[in-house]
Amino acid sequence: MATVRIPTPLRKLTNGQEEVKAEGATIGAVLADLEKNFPGIKERLCDESGQVRRFVNIFANEEDIRFLANLETPVKDSDEISIVPAIAGGAA
């Protein structure tokens, strides 16, 4: 199973876990497995059409999946998937 790194805003859905395991041969399958174990998480990552939301970046190891094969990017058990939300800030 691949390792998925969960950012602070989504840890409410993973029982506070910063790192979880997920099964799947592609990024899309990994997200589906995440949803099975942590209901509600996929909605936070993907829009109604199933595409990754524009304020979320997903990296397979150190590469942005947008420059690989997006949700069809292959995943190996040794891979680390990073979910990286845009942080705009703005509070003093």
Partner: protein, 236 residues
Amino acid sequence: MTPELGDYERRRYARQLALPGWDVAAQVRLADATVCILGATPEAAATALALAGAGVGTLVIDGGLADVPARVAALTTLCAVRVGAADAAASLWRCAPGADALVEAGAGAAARAALDDWARGARVPWVIAVSDGWDAQVAVLDQRVAGAPCARCVWPAPDEGRAESDAPAAPVAAWAGALAALEVVKLLGQGGSAAHARLMLLSGLAGDVRMLRLRRDPACPAHGDGDGDGARAGAA
């Protein structure tokens, strides 16, 4: 002509001058530089103090940072300080044309977009330093490098996710600010940074740092040849 430092500066920066890869010329480049820091945040405060301590000659800071007199007093003992308006990032853009490097430290999505446009056009290096809860992000975008990604290449719509952000743990914000300052020191003093086009992620809970690669999006509209949807247009 060989750049010079006075006796006081040589004493003040003696340990920094002894660093491998650093010399008098690099220190003089810092002393001659102006850095604009956007954001009235803990990240911005940490960046300003670290840059002033390293020897940057002039800082342009957000008016919100200047609300703490002791902070301004500390900075002005180390460098020249210019203050922008308290609530409008737009006023800082007027200062930006004189800037040799920029730091966006949680100034908000609109400020980041405007800064992105300006930095790209002026070919000025900039660093983004933001934090959220236990996590921090620092990105280095050196617009002097051919083919450099811009912020829009990486975050096409950062404002859509603003409700997701939480208040940061104070040391996490300080880490982001100090790292941003380090990157600016290298960008100005050494002419570049090995962290260019990298996103450094701190997981404060796990206690680790990851380095992710940032790429120019060939379809990014900011570069004049995109259709507005970027790389996501081809999403499976």
